[in-house]
């Protein structure tokens, strides 16, 4: 196993130092290290972060390998600075059995670019009718701890209560896609001025807020852990703030796109901007950014959702919702938060690793910890070209935008997955 000596790197924004990586661990840290056998990387001007952890990734395999595979999504993740991703369950077949989650887990191991941690479905076939075999998925080789019907809301309150209670047996967490389905039938975009102007059916903020309000009360009632996916409205932030103040065990994520893009993007009718939950207003963005800073929102998660060209190059109403995120997330975070490295490490690595129970991730580079880390060049600026992305799909909403920051290298258990900004394999 090759050793790496990373020279002159700022660990999470601190004064530059050297890091020696050997045998999968950070072996030493300190100025002026020597290691004659190590490959030397000059990291002057670069920042080392604990490898990023994405709690919300769609890898599309099995079922839609034309849009993404575990391998292509893993490569996109590594290039985005990630060392672990949690793969959502809405594949075909649905990841609602031990067999499917083990398949995804095994594909992740074979690709070897990031740790792929499968998420299990809450209900059989995501149909929202009866619980999937959550315990079997938890006990499988994939060791599933997060359960989600993402793409669908667990709308039945009794079923949601049972799921929250049941997963306590193995310290699981239910990640809710908060969307009251009756309030969003046929919905195409955020309900507001822009939807009225464009004649597209509205997705009202209250459809998200009502489910979050219900579920924090359920979680409080049964004393369970709850995670809220892709929080998108100012009202949701207020519901979460109150719940957290009361001590409810709830965590929440926000996507990069909900921190940056507004519903005005829909005016082009280009479905690359169609996503669920939809892009909201500038007021919502301001509330989400404030919540991310003060901790009401715990993490940034990408909701990386690759789609084939034909599913986006069509009429808005017929297009599938979702956008790519893995390769641009850190740049958006840097754009939104600025060089607050400790906050970025917390929101994109440490906290998501804690929520997912990934013990070897989310640890700041220091002697003795697993060498899961990424090196960022904060001074770089890059123009996003869809054709240059490693994902099999091209549905990035940031095409031709200039964004700050570039991932220079990523290490997974001491092995480089990205060097000089390029995937190693």
């Amino acid at each position: 196993m090759t050793a790496y000596l990373i020279r002159n790197v700022s660990v999470v924004g601190a004064e530059p130092t050297d890091l020696l990586i050997r045998d999968g661990l950070v072996a030493e840290a300190g100025a002026g290290l020597t290691a004659p056998d190590a490959t030397v990387l000059d990291a002057t001007g670069l920042v080392a972060l604990p490898g990023l952890v994405d709690l919300h990734t769609h890898l599309r395999e099995p079922g839609r390998e034309d849009a993404e595979t575990v391998e292509s999504g893993s490569r996109a993740a590594a290039l985005g600075g990630y060392t672990a991703v949690c793969a959502m369950a809405n594949t075909s077949p649905v990841a609602d059995t031990a067999g499917v989650v083990e398949q995804v887990w095994r594909l992740g191991r074979e690709a070897g670019l990031v740790d792929v941690q499968p998420i299990g479905a809450v209900t059989v076939g995501l149909a929202g009718e009866r619980l999937a075999e959550l315990g079997a998925m938890a006990d499988s080789a994939a060791r599933v701890r997060i359960f989600s019907d993402d793409g669908h809301c667990v709308a039945d309150p009794r079923l949601m209560r049972r799921a929250l209670e049941y997963v306590k047996a193995f310290d699981g967490v239910v990640a809710q896609h908060a969307e009251e389905p009756r309030l969003t039938e046929g919905a195409q975009m955020h309900e507001g001025e822009v939807s009225t102007r464009l004649g597209l059916a509205g997705w009202p903020a209250v459809a998200e807020e009502a489910i979050i309000a219900r579920d924090v009360l359920l979680a409080e009632h049964v004393g369970s852990r709850l995670h809220i996916c892709h929080v998108s409205t100012a009202g949701s932030v207020e519901v979460l703030r109150q719940a957290k103040t009361r001590g409810v065990r709830v965590t929440a994520e926000v996507t990069p796109h909900h921190l940056l893009l507004t519903d005005e993007k829909a005016a082009s009718y280009d479905p690359v901007f169609k996503v669920n939950p939809p892009l909201r207003t500038a007021t919502d963005i301001a509330a989400l950014r404030a919540a991310l800073a003060d901790g009401v929102i715990d993490i940034i998660a990408t909701d990386h959702a690759p789609h084939a060209v034909e599913d986006k190059e069509c009429e808005w109403a017929y297009a599938r919702p979702g956008m790519l995120g893995l390769e641009t997330a850190l740049s958006i975070a840097l754009d939104v938060l600025g060089p607050q490295w400790d906050l970025i490490a917390e929101r994109m690595s440490r906290a998501p690793a804690r929520i997912a129970g990934l013990d070897s991730h989310g640890l700041d580079p220091a002697p003795g910890v697993p060498a899961n880390l990424t090196l960022v060049d904060p001074a770089a600026r890059r123009v996003i070209e869809p054709a240059e992305l490693a994902s099999r799909s091209r549905n990035t909403p940031y095409a031709r935008m200039t964004l700050p920051g570039r991932i220079v290298a990523t290490f997974l258990r001491g092995e480089p997955t990205v060097l000089d900004g390029k995937a190693v394999k």
């Binding site: 195409q188 507001g192 001025e193 822009v194 009225t196 102007r197 464009l198 004649g199 597209l200 059916a201 082009s268 009718y269 280009d270 034909e310 190059e313 069509c314 009429e315 808005w316 109403a317 017929y318």
Partner: protein, 308 residues
């Protein structure tokens, strides 16, 4: 001149007025024995209809033919569309055939905007989903101007299912551009609350038709789909008709000069009674005739007929 006509917002006052003035000239053609001009000879106009709409399609067809254009009717039924061809592939096909203008009717809002990215010719929105129908607004404005002599300063009530109406959206935009005042009337479930901010700041909203009628110059009744009942937008057709339908007694609350419009097709007995629809105040038949003149003007101006 603009290249596409996708929205009422594409038209500034000068352009809209130019279209209406041109339409008035085109209307004189309809009175001739030979109802044809050579203006668009050798040009190809495609009517691309993804929804059944006989009246709009034949109106555009008549308009193009009176300008001597070659007309291709491409209807979703009995074409490759039913085999699942994408809008983009259809656009590329039309492009290869050399379409100078594509008139598109589509159930999805924004489909004409998408199409405009994929063809070189002009795209005319002939109604997209619940979004817009700009030539309907132009023919409505033409009809008001012909009957009442002006548009600036008129007070127009648009009554009914504004939420799902492409006619309402285009009318609000165009009428406000041309200086008319619009009041939207209907049950609160069918009027988006933020419509003034979304479309035109001076627009008023009322839930009381009887209160609005005495102060308007024009009342435009929108078609209300009976299916909306199933979605609880209103309790029953009868209750809708009672509160928002235009019948004889209500019509008599209008000022003497006021006119009654309807974009058709009408639900007689629902939003409008036969007495009103067939009364001298009704412009419903004129609207159809004016539609051809206005669409002639639009095609003529978009295809640069005035430069030849």
């Amino acid at each position: 001149m603009i290249r596409h006509l996708l929205s009422g917002a594409d038209l500034d006052a000068a352009t809209a007025t130019q279209i209406l003035d041109t339409a008035a000239e085109m209307a004189t053609v309809a009175g001739r024995e030979v109802k044809k001009l050579p203006a668009l000879r050798g040009r190809t106009v495609v009517n691309l209809f993804y929804e059944d709409s006989t009246r709009t399609r034949i109106s555009f067809e008549a308009a193009a033919k009176r300008l001597s254009a070659d007309v291709i009717n491409f209807s979703a039924k009995g074409s490759s569309v039913t085999k699942g061809e994408s809008l983009k592939d259809t656009a590329l096909t039309l492009q290869a055939m050399g379409a100078d203008a594509v008139v598109v009717r589509h159930p999805a809002s924004g489909a004409p905007h998408r199409l405009a990215n994929w063809v070189d010719g002009s795209v005319v929105n002939a109604g997209d989903g619940t979004h817009e129908h700009p030539t309907q607004a132009l023919l409505d404005a033409y009809t008001m101007r012909a009957r009442l002599g002006r548009l600036a300063g008129l007070h127009v009530a648009i009554v009914g299912d504004v939420l799902h109406s492409r006619v309402a959206r285009s009318n609000v935009l165009l009428l406000s551009t041309l200086g008319a005042k619009v009041t939207l009337v209907g049950p609160p479930t069918l009027i988006p609350v933020d419509i003034p901010q979304a479309l035109a700041p001076g627009t008023d909203v009322s839930y009381d038709l009887d209160a609005v009628l005495p102060g308007v110059d024009v009342v435009m009744m929108l078609r209300v789909q009976r299916e909306r009942m199933g979605d609880s937008y209103f309790p029953s057709a009868r209750e809708y008709a009672r509160r928002y339908g235009l019948d004889g007694p209500r019509m008599r609350r209008l000022p003497e000069h006021a006119i009654v419009m309807h974009p058709g097709p009408m639900n007689r007995g629902m939003e409008i009674t036969a007495e009103v629809a067939d009364s001298p105040r009704s412009t419903i038949v004129e609207q159809v005739a004016n539609g051809v003149s206005v669409r002639m003007a639009v095609l003529y101006l978009l295809l640069g007929g005035n430069n030849r």
